[in-house]
């Protein structure tokens, strides 16, 4: 499992869990960064932060600091089917 902030530009992952305080989490969830969502890091601002994400058919920008609250499985991850956190739908996808 990785943090979303650790993905490199061009990499994508599936969200497992969203941490952080209630307000931040509320914002992230509202914008569609919910568990089991596939998200791609599509670019990075010139100064290296924030990052640009592609999810649910639109583009979203997020600071690395905030992105580090999102845990993802990156593309390398292969589901074994017995991980409690990942839920049923990831299993179905993989």
């Amino acid at each position: 499992m990785k943090k979303l902030s650790e993905l490199k530009v061009g990499e994508s992952g599936t969200i497992v869990k969203v941490n952080g305080d209630r307000i931040l989490r509320g914002h992230l969830l509202d914008m569609g960064l919910t568990p089991n969502t596939c998200v791609k890091v599509s670019a990075m601002a010139p100064m290296g932060d924030p990052i640009e994400l592609f999810l649910r058919g639109y583009r979203l920008t997020l600071r690395l600091e905030d992105a580090s609250n999102i845990e993802v499985f990156d593309d390398e991850f292969k589901c074994t089917g017995n991980c409690r956190e990942c839920g049923k739908r990831i299993k179905a996808q993989s």
């Binding site: 919910t34 601002a45 640009e52 409690r84």
Partner: protein, 669 residues
């Protein structure tokens, strides 16, 4: 009939609002907050005389209580009880847009969805089964194109019919589908528990239950639940957490998105990657490029500045000024010929009319500048600027969205303050407004040039540059101070959508310019006008209300003499400099003209030493913003008291800095 217009940012809400209401709009504030509220009357070609008002709610993504905009929208619907909700959604980005729709539908208020940008979806080979989606959501859905004004009449017919007959959304159990068994049970348990309270508070129980499950504490208070009940609910939610393996806040969001995914699967023929998206990504390859992105931004702003303050705005301003001057001259000649009392003539021409003139001369710059700003905003470029510049402003507690307003401050504080309207967080907005006066505006440049060329011959450029840098450094210090002591709360997280680039709508742009011009004239007029009459009066009369021949005898000069001792520690305590400073409140350029008049013959050499000249320059560059800027600040803060507090804080800060620098310079000179 009152209708609330709700929708995400960048979904064409303003365009629809303008299409529905035309020019029948007026701007106010939502009760108790400084979030702008636009109300318009629906224009109708049919000859019914129904009075339909539309309230434009702020652009929001959810009805959570985390931002001012969300709270305002939600309070408006819950407390003001509009007759219906018109929810506009962007068909090209339907998943995320429907997230708000689901919450709105739960409110139990009659509702209609306007499915905007359907033309774009079809152009890209996609389609949406409108009838089916309407059935699945339990809400009438009307496809429209706000920009082309397609489908607006149909939309009107549908919402008038729906709202007049008070047809509420059909209750759809959003939590029923998918693998949401746990959420479903928990929500229904809570709904059951709070039913009586919800009814008493006149809030839909479904909406209340989902909000409680999301951990919304304001809802617990609103329903006046007992401790016992709260505990039971908490227990239910804990069980839910365990059952679904994520916390209830995430579980609810997940439930909504699952429902939406199912709806989308059944009704939307997904478009291939849209042209608009492809174009935007291509444009962004350049405009947010690692090396070219920032230089390009400064180049664009350079061009905007050149056009606004120089080529178009500047020249229009001079033209305007000469027209106003000759008009005043004509009126003066007329009054003299009429043998009007000379004092009255002076009051009209030098006091009132020149005050109006100074207001009007701002207007061309404001209009031209806002033309460019609105093009940047509506095209989607402003979001890129925020994205590119965010890191630079984060350390001082702001986000990239504040960059452009601060930059405009170097031109003129008035439009800079007005442009903070687009900042979504109130905290960021207030903080940005307080920092704008530190950006040395163009009106201060003549002061720097005039004094430094006389007092620091050969080094005028260097001195001027030092003042610009000093302002920026001090703004950082001020920002850190504000962050630490005044705006303590955490800033709203920077979670921002990058919308596709769009060609700005002509109508929307024109309406915005009209708004800004009106806003500026109506509100600034009163303040600036009365201030210029007062200053003129103080300049022209002595304490016995006789007209003075020599300025030194005027009330203004006497007031200046009382105030002057305050400036002794700064090294300049002549009544002449103080008079100039007081007049500078009217317009910063006045500092130069007044000093020039008062030192006629002797020159300003006699007033300053090298050290005190620098301290005077520092003080002038930092002290209270001019009256036009003050009026704008007061207006944006929504409070005269806060506006005055800012001006006072600014002046005290200026005094302290000037004092320190004066002493430092003395050590070396």
């Amino acid at each position: 009939m009152i209708i609330a217009l709700a929708g995400n940012q960048n979904c064409g809400k303003t365009t629809l609002f303008n299409a529905l209401t035309g020019s029948n709009q007026h701007v106010g504030n939502f009760p108790g907050v400084t979030v702008e509220q636009k109300v318009g009357t629906v224009k109708s070609s049919k000859k019914d005389n129904r009075d339909i008002k539309i309230v434009d709610l702020p652009g929001i993504y959810s009805l959570s209580p985390y931002t001012n905009e969300e709270i305002v929208s939600r309070d408006y619907i819950l407390n003001q009880k509009p007759d219906g909700i018109l929810n506009i959604i962007d068909a090209t980005n339907i998943e995320r847009n429907l997230y708000l729709s689901l919450q709105l539908a739960e409110l139990g208020v009659p509702m209609v969805i306007a499915l905007n940008m359907m033309d774009e979806v079809r152009d890209n080979g996609g389609n949406i089964d409108v009838e089916k989606i309407s059935k699945l959501l339990g809400v009438p859905v009307v496809p429209i194109s706000a920009a082309k004004e397609d489908g607006i009449e149909e939309l009107k017919d549908v919402f008038i019919r729906t709202f007049e007959n008070k047809i509420k959304p059909q209750v759809v159990d959003f939590c029923k589908g998918g693998d949401n068994g746990g959420v479903h049970r928990a929500l229904h348990a809570i709904m059951h528990m709070i039913e009586d309270h919800a009814q008493a508070a006149n809030i839909s129980r479904r909406f209340a239950a989902t909000k409680i499950a999301e951990g919304d504490e304001s809802m617990l208070k609103l329903l006046k639940l007992t401790t016992n009940e709260v505990e039971t609910i908490e227990h239910t939610l804990l069980q839910l957490d365990k059952e679904v393996g994520m916390d209830s806040q995430a579980a609810i969001a997940d439930m909504r998105y699952q429902f939406i995914e199912d709806v989308v699967k059944e009704t939307v023929v997904k478009q291939a990657e849209s042209k608009q998206h492809k174009t935007s990504v291509a444009i962004d390859k350049v405009l947010t490029h690692k090396y070219f992105g920032i230089p390009l931004f400064f180049m664009i702003m350079g061009i905007v500045f050149y056009l606004s303050f120089d080529l178009i705005g500047g020249n229009l301003t001079s033209l305007f000024e000469s027209v106003i001057d000759s008009a005043i001259d004509a009126i003066r000649t007329g009054l003299i010929n009429y043998q009007m009392n000379p004092v009255v003539t002076n009051m009209i021409c030098d006091g009132a009319l020149s005050g109006i003139g100074s207001v009007l001369s701002f207007l061309p710059i404001i209009i031209v500048l806002f033309l460019f700003l609105s093009l940047m905003e509506d095209s989607g470029y402003m979001a890129r600027v925020a994205y590119v510049m965010d890191k630079a402003l984060r350390k001082i507690g702001l986000s990239g969205k504040s960059f452009v307003p601060l930059l405009i401050g170097f031109g003129c504080s008035v439009p800079a303050v007005m442009s903070t309207r687009t900042l979504s967080s109130e905290r960021d907005r207030r903080m940005t407004i307080m920092l704008i006066p530190f950006m040395s505006c163009t009106a201060k440049l003549p002061i720097y040039g005039y004094i430094s060329s006389i007092m620091f011959p050969g080094k005028a450029g260097l001195i001027t540059l030092s003042l610009y840098i000093l302002g920026m450094v001090l703004s950082v210090v001020m920002a850190l101070f504000l962050k630490k002591f005044i705006f303590k709360g955490k800033s709203v997280p920077f979670v921002m959508e990058l919308p596709n680039y769009r060609i700005p709508g002509f109508k929307t742009t024109i309406m915005l310019l009209y708004d800004k011009a009106k806003d500026f004239l109506v509100r600034a007029f009163t303040v600036i006008f009365s201030a210029s009459v007062i200053i003129w009066f103080l300049q022209s009369f002595d304490f016995r209300f006789n007209v003075v021949a020599d300025t030194e005898l005027s009330i203004l000069a006497n007031v200046a003499k009382w105030i002057s001792p305050v400036f002794i520690p700064l090294g300049f305590a002549s009544w002449k400099t103080t008079t100039a400073l007081i007049s500078g409140f009217m317009a910063k350029e006045a500092v130069v003209s007044i000093l020039d008049v008062l030192t006629a013959g002797t020159g300003i050499n006699g007033l300053f030493t090298v050290a005190s000249a620098y301290s005077f320059l520092v003080f002038t560059s930092l002290y209270t913003p001019c009256v036009a800027a003050f009026a704008a600040i007061k207006n944006e803060f929504g409070s005269k008291k806060l506006g005055m507090a800012v001006a006072l804080l600014q002046s005290v800060y200026a005094w302290v800095v000037a004092f320190v620098l004066f002493r430092l310079v003395l050590l070396f000179v």
